[in-house]
């Protein structure tokens, strides 16, 4: 029995250490890790990195161009853009992580249930997923926020719901593949009960596609949040969000272009880093897909 399990274990997520090392050895993986790492550092250590209070207005220093005091300049209220960018990273990461956790958690649960119990349960779950999938992402998120009201929590819930189907599908597909292999039948024949099989065998096997999916979903979630905030329906003032900073900047574009450039650059770098990391991760974890 042990021998039969062995090759499957190897296909699962490699130990963290070797995974990180593999990613690091690939130039793209390294670039992605550095980018994502920097954004996470900004988010975690925001209070130490920021140079001013995020909300502090200074009417004497409105529209200051980037200088030694205000590295990225100031906005129309005289607030320090650098500090707002740093805290904005925190907002982006928190919203992204919470939203993806909601999506991944429910997606994992629904996917396991659909894949394992099949029949009516599966049809109903997949039908609901198809319906969620039938709405353009951002439209559904905007709709949910429009109904529930604008707030950071509702933004996270909305983005989370929108992302559930992707995870459900990934997990269900993996469960079905794993189920069809011999060693699940073997596990059953030696008397392991269904729940045991589920967690002991299915879970490590779906970790690889799940991780890739989560990384890509994180970039998608950050993007959706930024778009919603840009439209005024995501993060509400006074919380800083790159999307709303960029949106506010449009009114003052001619006199203070830095108000637009810095948030735009940070949004782009963040999404780009997550996408690069996601690609590299997929290449490492799922070499079949590498071309």
């Amino acid at each position: 029995m042990k021998k039969k399990n062995a090759p499957v274990r190897n296909r699962a997520l490699p130990g963290n250490e070797s995974l990180l090392r593999q990613l690091w050895s690939d130039p793209m993986g390294r670039a992605g890790m550095i980018g994502v790492g920097m954004i996470i550092l900004l988010a975690v250590f925001a209070p130490w990195i920021a140079r001013f209070d995020v909300g502090k207005m200074n009417s004497k220093a409105r529209f200051a161009a980037p200088n030694a005091t205000y590295w990225f300049g100031t906005d129309n209220f005289g607030r320090d853009i650098f500090s707002r960018i740093v805290y904005g990273a925190r907002v982006s990461i928190v919203v992204g992580v919470v939203a993806v956790s909601i999506a991944a958690g429910f997606g994992y649960l629904f996917g396991l249930i659909a894949g394992f119990f099949e029949g009516k349960v599966e049809s109903v779950i997949m039908m609901v997923m198809d319906i969620i999938f039938a709405f353009p992402h951002i439209l559904l998120a905007l709709f949910i926020v429009a109904v529930l009201g604008k707030s950071i929590v509702n933004t996270m819930i909305a983005i989370g719901i929108v992302n559930i189907p992707v995870f459900t599908r990934t997990v269900r597909a993996s469960v079905k593949t794993v189920k069809s292999t011999d060693y699940i039948a073997n596990a059953r024949s030696i008397g392991l009960n269904r729940m045991n099989i589920l967690f002991k065998h299915v879970t490590p096997n779906i970790l690889a596609p799940f991780t890739v999916q989560a990384t890509l979903a994180l970039s998608g979630a950050i993007l959706t949040e930024a778009s919603m905030s840009f439209l005024g329906l995501g993060i509400q003032p006074p919380d800083p969000s790159w999307g709303s900073m960029l949106s506010d900047a449009r009114k003052f574009m001619e006199q203070a272009p830095w108000m637009a450039i810095f948030p735009a650059v940070f949004i782009i770098i963040t999404i780009l880093s997550f996408n690069i990391l996601g690609d590299a991760l997929r290449d490492v974890l799922d070499p079949k897909l590498k071309l």
Partner: protein, 314 residues
């Protein structure tokens, strides 16, 4: 073939019911209720009762749903709370503008992405390939609103150019209309272009490894026949799937792009509805866009069967 299409159309019905139910259920989650939303602080019990009756809110939920959906099927999406104008005609007239934007976006995306994706696959690991891959990655990673803002900033600062503010229809003045639409459409198409480029490249690489491509070359085929008649047509199957999926994000993208460039399309209408808590407008727009998305995907599925004979109609 005809049977297949009919069957697919019938299969659409449960999804459409599901979509409308989802919208209806979400609408029930509005905190407080619609009437207080309309009346604001001026509400009196009499006014309340009048509005509730007018909107049919005094009836049971099932009846409310059936009456809403029954009217929606006949093209009656109700009236705007703000203007009192019927929603459906407004959606239709604005849809034409959004459709123009989206179609132009798609065309830009394909014109750029398909040739570059093919070249990138054929010249694998060359300098061209590397450049195309970076461009494609930028395409999928730069959000519409960020590139739009930067482009506007660049044009304003660099060339003192501002896109026309007042919208002009395609049939009123095609020149001005194009001046308004080209940049937004290009930006709207850039995300699709990026992902189509990536898919074209990987799909072409996959097909080019296949035995039948080797066999076609062994028959003495000219390179262009091998690449276009055989390799590209086979690669196009996953590309079409991707395009079907991307159309959703393209429609979502119109909300953002129309807002930035002040184009009075469906996206802008939806957003205005959301901001003004004009629920019939929001409900109508969301229903319309979701149904449109599902129908477009069905068309994509049918298109498949023309390209891939392996798809059985059963």
């Amino acid at each position: 073939m005809r049977d297949y299409i009919i069957r697919r159309l019938l299969g659409l019905i449960p999804i459409l019911i599901g979509i409308s139910l989802a919208i209806f259920i979400i609408m029930q989650l509005i905190p407080g209720d619609v009437v207080s939303g309309i009346l604001g602080i001026e509400q009196t019990p009499e006014l309340r009762a009048m509005w509730e009756k007018k909107l049919g809110l005094d009836k049971p939920l099932v009846e409310q749903y059936l009456s809403w959906i029954g009217k929606a099927v006949t093209g009656d999406f109700g009236e705007s709370f703000r203007t009192g104008a019927p929603v459906f005609p407004e959606i239709m007239s604005r849809f034409k503008i959004s459709a123009e934007l989206a179609i132009m976006g798609c065309i830009f995306a394909w014109i750029i992405a398909l040739p570059l994706g093919i070249i990138s696959a054929l010249k694998r690991n060359s300098v061209v390939d590397r450049i195309v891959r970076v461009v494609a990655l930028m395409g999928v990673s730069i959000p519409n609103f960020a590139s739009a803002t930067l482009v506007i900033l660049f044009l304003a600062k660099g060339f003192n150019y501002h896109t026309p503010v007042k919208y002009v229809g395609l049939f009123e003045n095609i020149g001005t209309n194009m001046e308004i639409m080209v940049i937004p459409a290009f930006i709207l198409g850039s995300v699709m272009a990026g992902s189509v480029m990536r898919m074209t490249r990987s799909s072409m690489l996959e097909v080019l490894r296949q035995d039948y491509i080797k066999a076609v070359r062994a028959k003495g085929a000219p390179e262009r026949v091998t690449i276009f008649r055989h390799a590209f047509r086979n690669s196009s199957i996953p590309i079409i799937t991707l395009i079907g999926m991307q159309i959703g994000s393209l429609m979502g993208g119109t909300v953002v792009i129309e807002q930035i460039f002040s184009i009075p399309g469906l996206g802008q209408y939806t957003l205005t509805g959301i901001n003004q808590r004009d629920y019939p407008v929001v409900q109508g727009c969301v229903l319309f866009i979701a149904v449109l998305y599902v129908v477009v995907n069905l068309l994509v599925d049918i298109l498949y069967t023309y390209i891939d004979p392996r798809i059985t109609y059963n």
